[in-house]
């Protein structure tokens, strides 16, 4: 069953594809997580990353044509763990964030669960 550590976890979701973000919301709801967002673009993502009460984040690498790495930087500065979701796979992740887990779209619910568990227990 679902990992206890995920219950009540506040997860920021950054995803610009409507149906994909709905899917992620459903998956997270199944784990007992509370979804923050989903943020459909860079500015909304940055605002939430800087100020929202969050425990973890799942970031689409490319949101509406902009790379999300500055948001990842902001999260890192706050000590919030995050994973990337990307159509480009690990190859799309650059620079300081190569260590962050990358979920290649499409991903299974269990892949997301493992990634999140890894983030909160790491």
């Amino acid at each position: 069953m679902t990992d206890e550590r995920l219950v009540g976890l506040r997860v920021l979701v950054v995803e610009d594809e409507m149906l994909v973000s709905m899917l992620v919301e459903d998956m997270l709801a199944d784990f007992g997580c509370a979804v923050v967002g989903p943020a459909p673009d860079f500015d909304a993502a940055m605002a939430l990353a800087n100020s929202a009460e969050i425990d973890a984040a799942l970031l689409d690498v490319n949101v509406a044509g902009r790379v999300i790495f500055p948001v990842a930087d902001a999260l890192k500065a706050r000590g919030v763990p995050f994973a990337f979701a990307s159509g480009y796979g690990a190859a799309g992740v650059e620079g300081d964030h190569r260590d962050a887990p990358v979920l290649q779209k499409p991903f299974r619910q269990i892949d997301l669960e493992r990634a999140l568990t890894g983030l909160v227990s790491g």
Binding site: D16, E17, M18, L19, V20, S21, M22, L23, D26, P38, P40, D41, F42, A44, N62, A64, G65, R66, S86, G87, Y88, G89, G92, Q104, K105, P106, F107
Partner: protein
């Protein structure tokens, strides 16, 4: 007295003999001098015309002939060149070449020397038309002496002919002299032939080299290829005009090896120098692409190829040469292609995730596998329809009107819906997919439960753009009485939460008794994809 007279007689005889001896000696001396002169001329061997003239002049002088001729050939079978000598030479100049008559054949077929005291009495003479003998106007010839000129290899190179108008003028000694002169003539023509052959060969070689160099230069120019050469030890570097152009230099600008290395992009410079050193060390091919910085600051790509060459087999390379080519356009095209491939991959993966989402959520609301299949397929087709529209426009977007029409058409609702179009609205690919999915959910609901489920029902779609906001109203009327649903399905969630959130606007569903309405208020910036930095 008799004895004294005998003595006188004997003395006189001795004087005559002495005189004859002196004369013979003088004659020999003269002949020797002439032969030496001819030999020297042949030996010096500069101008063939001078040589053959010296030979025939010598022959005339030695035999005391009135006329002499030297016919010769050096380009195969025709004795088309000649030199004339003697008092009567001018009278001979207008006559045709000797033909293959019985007399001449002895000479030009290389059979033997012909010496005749009176050629007119020779049985071989006069048997050949049209002249049947010496042509009219020809200087009279009775004494005739002719020798073939034969090379050491046995080939007949020509003939030496001498004549005199009086019979019996040529002696056996003259015959030997002419044989000697003919030998000198053969040596002269032989030497000239060899020189001409060597000259022709070297000219041909020069021609081949010139045309090769010309073709190479043309091909290099046509291929926009520069050429370069490097002296390994001195690092002296030579670049063609086009090669300089590949580095942004003018033809008259200096461009040495240090300039070359300095012009290469810092990040590529080590790679380039290592490749060049390896090519010099191992004789391996030098084949490298690097960025260069032009003097005006622009960055270009250059492809350089070359090879180092050892002058001594197995020795160290002394020089290196090759070509250079500006490949900036190719590099850019490759980068564009890579970008497109990445983008395509991104889209495919996102589409798969979208399909996954549709399946995931359709499964949650479907009560039976049949219901799942029906709803899932319809949504998949709705997505596919939007993709068709986007493909038609190279994935640059799609018109709102086209999206609405195609979703209604897919459900057979086109004739039943009244579309009141407002301003033309062009949606970005992402917005098109989202709005297309929303319209699909509205139309599906209308056909299954709403106004389009009964024959009298009507749907009106109306939109306008005001203050940067798209106001789209979906209004159903004259359908079955509408009840507010007990639980929210995929459609209402997609519209009210998904679409509204994705496009940063609001979508409101109102379950009025007379029919469902949907009011979308979506910012144009988000719809057109202008909300990117």
């Amino acid at each position: 007295m008799s004895s004294s007279s005998d003595t006188i007689k004997a003395g006189a005889q001795a004087t005559v003999r002495e005189r004859a001896l002196v004369a013979a000696l003088a004659d020999e001396t003269r002949r020797s001098e002439v032969l030496i002169r001819v030999g020297e001329a042949v030996g010096a061997g500069r101008d063939i015309d001078v040589i053959v003239q010296t030979v025939v002049d010598g022959g005339v002088e030695l035999t005391r002939a009135e006329v002499g001729a030297f016919f010769y050939d050096y380009d195969g079978g025709r004795f088309g060149f000649y030199a004339l000598s003697g008092a009567q030479r001018s009278a001979l100049e207008h006559f045709p070449m000797p033909r293959n008559t019985a007399v001449f054949a002895q000479t030009f077929a290389g059979v033997a020397i012909v010496r005749s005291d009176d050629i007119l009495a020779d049985p071989r003479y006069g048997g050949n038309p049209p002249f049947n003998g010496i042509p009219g106007g020809h200087p009279p010839v009775r004494s005739y002496l002719a020798a073939p000129v034969v090379s050491r290899s046995g080939e007949v190179l020509g003939g030496l002919l001498f004549g005199h108008s009086e019979p019996g003028r040529f002696s056996a000694a003259d015959e030997r002299v002419v044989a000697g002169v003919a030998g000198l003539g053969a040596a002269a023509v032989d030497a000239m032939r060899r020189r001409n052959e060597a000259l022709a060969a070297s000219e041909a070689q020069r021609g081949v080299e010139a045309s090769l160099a010309e073709r190479l230069s043309f091909a290099l120019d046509a291929g926009r290829m520069g050429s370069w050469a490097l002296d390994v030890d001195s690092r002296a570097y030579e670049a063609s005009d086009l090669c300089k152009a590949n580095y942004g230099r003018q033809p008259d600008e200096d461009f040495g090896f240090a300039d070359l290395v300095a012009s290469i992009h810092e990040a590529d410079r080590d790679r380039m120098t290592r490749a060049m050193e390896a090519a010099i060390r191992d004789g391996s091919d030098y084949d490298i692409e690097y960025r260069v910085i032009w003097p005006d600051g622009q960055v270009r790509w250059v492809h350089a190829r070359g090879r180092a060459d050892a002058i001594v087999p197995g020795g160290a390379a002394k020089r290196m040469a090759g070509i250079s080519l500006d490949i900036t356009e190719r590099r850019r095209a490759e980068a564009r292609q890579q970008l497109m491939l990445n983008e395509l991959n991104h889209r495919v993966k996102n589409t798969l995730a979208t399909v996954q989402s549709i399946a995931f959520q359709t499964l949650r609301t479907a009560r039976t596998p049949w219901e799942f299949r029906e709803a899932f397929e319809a949504r998949l087709l709705a997505l596919s329809e939007t993709h068709n529209l986007l493909t038609q426009e190279n994935w640059e977007g799609a018109a709102l009107r086209a999206i609405i029409d195609s979703e209604l058409e897919a459900l057979g609702g086109v004739g039943r819906a009244v579309v009141v179009p407002g301003a033309e609205v062009h949606l970005s690919p992402k917005a098109a997919v989202a709005v297309g999915m929303g319209i699909h959910e509205l139309a599906t609901n209308a056909v299954k439960y709403g106004a389009l489920s009964v024959s009298r029902g009507v749907v009106t779609v109306h939109w306008q753009v005001r203050d940067g906001l798209l106001e789209l109203d979906w209004t159903e009327s004259d359908g079955p009485r509408v009840e507010t649903p007990q639980r929210r399905g995929f459609g209402s969630r997609l519209l009210e939460k998904g679409l509204a959130a994705e496009l940063g606007g609001s979508v409101e569903l109102m379950y009025r008794k007379q029919g469902l309405t949907c009011a979308m208020r979506l910012p144009m910036a988000a719809l057109e994809g202008r909300n990117r930095a």
